[in-house]
Amino acid sequence: MIKNLNFILILTTIVVLSAIGIIFIFGSGYSWVQSIKVSDWRQTPLYQNYVSDMNLAVLPLSVILVAVMGLCIPKRLFSGKALLRAMGFLLAATLATAALLGPKLGMGVLLVAATLIQVVVIGMTLAGDRRLSYETQGFFVQIGSAVLHLGFIIFLVDFILLSGSPAHLDVFWLSTILIGVGMVLCFYSAELARLRDSGPPPLADENK
């Protein structure tokens, strides 16, 4: 059941990512047409309307993407009914906060919770805790995946909650480093494991 849930979350991610991509293409096409029809159109109110419309089109899909990512995080820590309960609790907390304090803070709750869970997941992965659940086997791919997702969550936290703050760019660089390092660890896990195992002392086997 959990395997299917993972697959459904991945399929949802693919559909949402592709859909946002298609919206961006439409946006560029519209922008092109307007730049032909209206001179210096970026200085006109039409451009502001275009930005608002794009926000309106992208926002629901971004919310789904953030929700899916937020829901992907607890699956490392929990399984079975506990996972469903954790997901339900996160979703309820998000919706309740969104209803009471606005969608931005609602997303913030989900992202901050996801950040905290992901930090715990990274700690447990580093400690070699076998209770964690990953689709892939091997230390480097697991820690890479965890660091990469933490980077993306922090990136979203930065843009949703900290965009006007003086810490915005510092947090941005932190997320960039985490994303870059996470990708290298994730994509080159087998090579890194070979490198590690070629020198003393030998550690656990790394599977691709």
Binding site: T13, F24, I25, G27, W32, S35, R42, V51, I179, F187
Partner: protein, 319 residues
């Protein structure tokens, strides 16, 4: 000011570069011809190496021209308030961009080992196609650094002909702004080359995806994946590094949802979708989905590149 030395270096680059780009066209056509003539096919490898050597030689010529600019040209403030400045222009601006992309693609074409023959042949043909496109659309030797040259010439004319001080100051600040925010910007040395390197690896990933559907063999999926991986890392880091630059350079102008920004994000999202799909490639329907996402994502690369020249916007040279 060293303007004479600059002009002579520019003239030299055009004079030596033109026969090189002609050679690039000839070698590119030769690769295409050799592909349809079985008796000549064995020589293709040598022609591909020669084509890469011609590209590399041309690039060294451009490097030398940029070095001459850095050492000879000085931008002097007519009011004397700001210290004199020089231009350290990276070798991937204006019509050098596609040349640089093709150069990296050429490198990836000639250094590869133990690739399936069909894949390598397709890659060599693609490299030749890029060579022909370079000749017809992005010849960096016909008018070396045309925009930079136009701007600097305007400044030199304003200063040397003793025009009104206000005109001199305007011409100076027009060039000074570009020097600080664009030509000499540290971001300029990191953001574009990472993206062009990514685009080059995506060409190989795209060819792998084509063979995934044609041959339906795992080795082509692995090839596509192996080349999409470094591309995605370079693309992601390159795009992220572009963000602080955008904030710094376009702070007073609206740039969010700019056409180039849109299509670049689209490209990233599609590659991200490709990687997610590949996690379940052995599930029913996911092999084809992954390959098609690989195609569409590469189409995103092409659209992103073309957008710069076609759709007007803050990140474009069109309009």
């Amino acid at each position: 000011m060293g303007n004479t030395a600059y002009l002579s270096a520019r003239e030299f680059t055009a004079r030596v570069g033109q026969p090189l780009i002609d050679l690039i066209l000839l070698l590119s056509i030769a690769i295409l011809v050799f592909a349809v003539l079985p008796q000549l096919r064995t020589y293709t490898r040598f022609v591909v190496l020669a084509l890469f050597a011609a590209f590399a030689a041309g690039w060294l010529l451009l490097v030398s021209f940029h070095y001459q600019i850095a050492t000879h040209l000085v931008l002097v403030d007519p009011t004397g308030q700001l210290p004199p400045g020089s231009f350290t222009i990276p070798v991937w601006v204006e019509n050098e961009k596609f040349y640089f992309w093709t150069l990296i693609l050429g490198l990836l074409t000639v250094v590869g080992r133990r690739r399936p023959k069909a894949f390598q042949s397709t890659l060599e043909l693609t490299f030749a196609g890029f060579g022909i496109l370079t000749f017809f659309t992005s010849n960096p030797f016909s008018r070396p650094l045309a925009d930079f040259h136009a701007g600097f010439t305007q400044y030199v004319q304003a200063v040397s002909t003793g025009q009104d001080m206000q005109v001199q100051v305007q011409a100076y600040y027009a060039m000074y702004g570009k020097m600080v925010g664009f030509y000499n910007s540290a971001y300029m040395w990191i953001h574009p080359p990472l993206l062009f390197a990514a685009y080059s690896t995506f060409v190989l990933a795209f060819i792998g995806c084509i063979f995934m559907l044609v041959k339906k063999q795992e080795r082509y999926d692995k090839l596509a994946y192996d080349w999409a991986k470094p591309g995605f890392i370079l693309l992601t880091v390159g795009l992220l590094i572009g963000y602080p630059w955008a904030v710094e350079a376009w702070k007073d102008q609206p740039w969010w949802y700019d056409p180039k920004v849109n299509v670049t994000l689209m490209m990233w999202l599609l590659y991200s979708a490709y990687f997610h799909a590949r996690l379940y490639i052995h599930r029913r329907g996911m092999w084809v989905t992954t390959a098609i996402l690989g195609y569409v994502a590469f189409l995103g690369v092409v659209v992103t590149y073309i957008t710069t020249y076609v759709i007007p916007g803050i990140h474009s040279v069109a309009g």
